[in-house]
Symmetry: C2
């Protein structure tokens, strides 16, 4: 791709961004659109209807100032810890790519330009240069200047690891503080027990009661056995399922039942952390252990197949990248393609647009796959879908593009580990121009269209003639973490990989992250209400993804320096992935347990704090015993451990 | 190798076995040898000095009857659960190889013989046939008879998996029963806490006391801070180490502190199951978290290097296998090697003997490596050494022999997974004769020399003139699980791999396991006293090793059937390793947690049982508070939670 094609793409997308921003600032001020652009304020009855004035029809930038103002604590209290984590991904990326951009643009780019391995740069007519002139491929083989790139890789790795450690520590402390400052919540005192053995002639409810009365007499409070309604069966009488929500009088009591294996048979009396009551995903309680396991395997197989077969759209996209191939396939287009502008649009803009459309279909599919895997909470489904989307994106957009993804090619690549550096070193730099265009298209324009909410806008316009004004409570939408987090992480991966290969990508990435910062902040404040809170559990996914990107960059560096006949640099690169992985192992030991469960110290302290207000706790317990009833259903079979008058006064002797 | 060479080896080894058995039955009756042959009876003062009679000089077989008689429960009570697990490995192997032997010798062997891919079998002069005539290589390519081998693989896999499930279930229940029937033991009530944070001006002992009094007030009993003596330092005053043994009033209380993360920082207040007091391995308590981690890595690197470099002795051994190569290297031997008997000894016997000698050096080296890895108990060191020896044996004796182990060859094999079946299929059948000889030499003769205890005998003969009769308590030796378990498992691997390739190995293996059954039983009764009891934790190693052998057999089958031009059989083989690994995953879920820790149900029941005898418990607690003092040392700094009069009466309301 030549520079002018890139500039065309940049121009188109920049124009789209400006257009979206302007339209947004106009449309958001029209009261008829409040449901689309400020649904949070509508749901919380905070939207103000303003009188018509001409100012409403002019684009204004004051929404940016309002998005910039709130502090992190204000976002924490209004949108939850997950939103804070998401914004910190963006600020982390900004820090990383500011340094990377400075090193890349001011040090590496001139070094690349002044080489002549591919061709001499044409300063007179800059826009006619190929983008490859600005990549590492243009540095002469064996040149001593490659040591600059070597040092740059080391510097960036150390900086990123330092930032990762700092972020992990910060977010862990935020998570603990969030827990500390929370009011008593049902899911902190409750566990889910499944695979409850059924004894002949006994009911599940009695089983549960006798088990917990025997082994947890001082901390057990109540239980609720889950029941399943068979809609199509003539037994319109409900059937008990071998699962129950068991509540305890203290968080520590719940943790004890959760972390110790309860029964000699590890497949019976299996305990799990209960999700928040509104977060429960009901369809899978009646599955047995074997059925869940089989479904898990089916989903894994389906996921692998989907990931591999995604190469078909990718192949189509790649075909568009190659003009001559297109002319062969569609000879009637030859005359049109000869027009410079059309060819530039086709090579610079169209492939990425098509890729985006295909990609947009994946999050719902992944969410569906995750939802049949047997999870019991929506937040877990979202997290699993997030990981699936991330892996699919990385495999198909990065690797498949890089390896002309035929299925056999993909498999042969995976099965020959000793060839990884060499093959990556050949294929990755060649796709640099494609990915720069990808950042501009998918990054800039897509994020701006996120602001503009094009699809909900069109949907509401289509629906208006047919829908009646409802008196239902209007609910603000929730943020789709499983789609946006993988996208942001993918751009981080691109930036880290191409940092020393094609530093030209970095300014465009920085613009993307700046746009993302303002736009997502605005959306959190105005559009998305927190629905399913995981308490920051997305950060380990982010951390692992960045570590993977780093190690991939190191593997590339090894291959590139070998290709460029500087094998000493290649060998000296080996300690870096080793140190990175050791650092990752340390972080897993030091921080990851905090994201799985809270420590005994923390739980006991919180329980002691609660005991200072007995009436509040008594009221809380009276609500706890019915917190997990299925919504809009007949009363479940449940029993409590004690009468309402004897709710315990928590004191330290009780533990 | 031709049949006569094998018969020579069989003859030599059989003769050696008979010789060892005869010598054993004579020597064991001489009172001067009681220390070597019946040290258990000596240590327990049960040996009877008999008067001299001529019968003492004749070989008699009644020791075999005495070894056969005891039941499993008697072995359990006299030698511990680990000895029972070891004997069950042998009985498991006997069951497997009885069925395998029947299928192999009566069905597969005739099928192999009647083929003529390599050569027609010479019935007239059977001993002049090459051993390869009896392997699968002799079946014609593309023959339909290969389906018999295919079915044999399926049948054996299903049978082994069924047996594995049954054994895992049996040993799990034995482990739980062993725990149930045990008296109160210090290590059941104690945990080890390390990485204790030091606050300025406070002592570690006060830290521990205040932490456990605050968070475990009802269950905490006492603690003992570990101290380190610096022998060479002029501060002959001892230094406190950031580790302590903390004892609780109930097993459940100890389990609660063990399984929940205690502190917000997962690298502080790290809890671990305490070993039995005599099992503690003291040198590593003063290491910090980082030092232990670094040592761990150093050991792993050293182990990998050792394993790879072990090919040097293997190469020497292989050289002996090839007569012509020898004649080139040592031309002066040419005339000697022409003698048939000498050449048969050199090819059939000498290589294995040398290999055995090299192998005998590995367990002490592995035990040393494990002991610097940072473990805190001897039993853990033994288990880790067992796994190291097993992996080294499998890699170097099996794979390296099979791949003419040069280092580059080994690495290139590992790094090309898609070639595994093909390369295995070419190389493994060719080594069949070597391994049949290996079974006969290493299996038969080495196990018989275990009975004969040649090295302790020679050692005591050499030491006699110099040692004075001591009044020290004579201690019986303990069984070296880290050497014998890998050996038995290696023979299982050989049998499973060569089952359908060279069934001729199976009768020899069966003889080995029968010998082993009698010999090891005899040794457990008479020689080895139980020292470090793991409670059956060796069985998961056995299970994993058998699963690995099965999957290796499946990979071989895929390669062999492809080589033999029966690709349908190759493809139909693929479900088998998948099903085997799924079965393994199920077993890990169903049984492995029992080997890590006991369930809450079990601990609470045992605590309630104890509470029926308060005086016994009071006496036990008074011994518990000093149980972990270092032997022969000055009193450690310790403090107890309560005075001797207030040892709690355990009742159910205390939990």
């Amino acid at each position: 791709m030549i520079v002018s094609a890139l500039l065309t793409s940049v121009g188109i997308n920049f124009g789209l961004c400006v257009l979206f921003f302007a339209l947004y600032s106009i449309l958001r001020k029209q009261p008829v659109n409040y449901n689309i652009y400020v649904p949070r304020l509508v749901a919380e009855d905070k939207s103000r209807t303003s009188y018509f004035n001409i100012g409403r029809l002019l684009p204004t930038p004051e929404w940016m100032g309002r998005a910039w103002k709130p502090t992190e604590d204000e976002i924490l209290s209004s949108s939850g810890l997950d939103a804070v984590v998401f914004m910190r991904i963006i600020t982390f990326s900004l820090k990383v790519f500011t340094l990377a951009g400075i090193i890349g643009v001011f040090i590496l780019l001139p070094v690349n330009c002044t080489g002549d391995q591919l061709q001499d740069i044409n300063f007179a007519n800059l826009t006619s240069n190929s983008l490859d002139v600005f990549t590492i491929s243009n540095v002469n083989n064996g040149s001593k200047r490659l040591w600059i790139h070597f040092c740059a890789v080391y510097v960036l790795t150390i900086f990123i690891c330092y930032l990762l450690y700092y972020e992990y520590k910060y977010i862990s402390s935020k998570r603990i503080a969030y827990f500390d400052s929370s009011k008593p919540q049902p899911h902190q005192f409750t566990i889910l027990v499944h695979s409850i053995p059924v004894s002949a002639g006994g009911s599940i409810s009695n089983n549960v009661q006798s088990f917990f009365m025997e082994y947890h007499p001082t901390t057990y409070l109540s239980h609720l056995v889950v029941q399943k309604t068979y809609i199509f069966s003539n037994l319109a009488m409900r059937k008990e399922v071998q699962a129950a929500f068991v509540s305890f009088k203290s968080r520590y009591g719940a943790a004890m039942a959760l972390h110790l294996q309860q029964s000699d048979d590890p497949t019976e009396w299996v305990t799990e952390q209960a999700p928040e009551p509104h977060d429960v995903y009901w369809p899978f309680f009646s599955s047995s252990f074997m059925l869940k396991w089989i479904l898990n395997l089916v989903v894994i197989v389906a996921y692998v197949l989907l990931t591999i077969l995604f190469f078909i759209p990718v192949l189509i996209v790649q075909g568009l990248n190659n003009l001559s191939q297109l002319e062969v396939l569609f000879p009637f287009l030859t005359s049109i393609l000869k027009i410079t502008f059309v060819s530039q649009v086709v090579t610079g803009y169209l492939p990425n647009l098509l890729l985006q459309l295909f990609l947009k279909m994946t999050p719902p599919v992944m969410k569906f796959l995750s939802s049949i895997q047997g999870f019991i909470s929506h937040s877990e489904i979202m997290r699993s879908a997030c990981m699936k989307v991330l892996v699919l994106m990385v495999w198909n957009i990065f690797f498949a593009n890089v390896f002309s993804g035929s299925v056999l090619n993909q498999l042969s690549f995976v099965l020959e580990p000793k060839n990884y550096p060499a093959r990556l070193a050949v294929a990755v730099p060649a796709q640099a121009s494609f990915f720069i265009a990808y950042v501009v298209t998918s990054g800039w324009a897509s994020t701006s269209s996120e602001l503009f909410r094009l699809i909900p806008l069109i949907w509401s316009l289509l629906r208006k003639p047919f829908s009646e004004p409802t008196t239902d409570e209007f609910e603000a939408p929730s943020f789709s973490y499983h789609w946006d987090i993988p996208r942001v992480l993918f751009f981080c991966l691109l930036g880290i990989i191409y940092f020393f290969l094609a530093p030209l990508i970095l300014p465009f990435l920085l613009v993307y992250f700046c746009l993302g910062y303002i736009i997502y902040r605005n959306q959190f404040i105005n559009v998305y209400a927190p629905k399913y809170e995981t308490g920051g559990k997305y950060w380990p996914i982010v951390h692992n993804s960045i570590i993977f990107s780093l190690v991939l960059m190191h593997a590339l560096a090894v291959g590139i320096f070998t290709l460029k006949r500087l094998s000493l640099a290649s060998s000296l690169m080996f300690p870096l992935p080793v140190m990175t992985l050791l650092f990752n192992a340390y972080c897993r030991k030091r921080f990851l347990p905090i994201f799985t469960a809270f420590s005994a110290q923390r739980l006991i302290k919180k329980d002691i704090d609660d005991s200072s207000d007995p009436e509040l706790m008594a009221e809380f317990f009276s609500k706890l015993v019915i917190a997990y009833q299925e919504p809009a259903s007949s009363p479940l079979d449940h029993s409590t451990n004690c009468d309402s008058e004897t709710y315990p006064l928590l004191s330290s002797t009780q533990f």
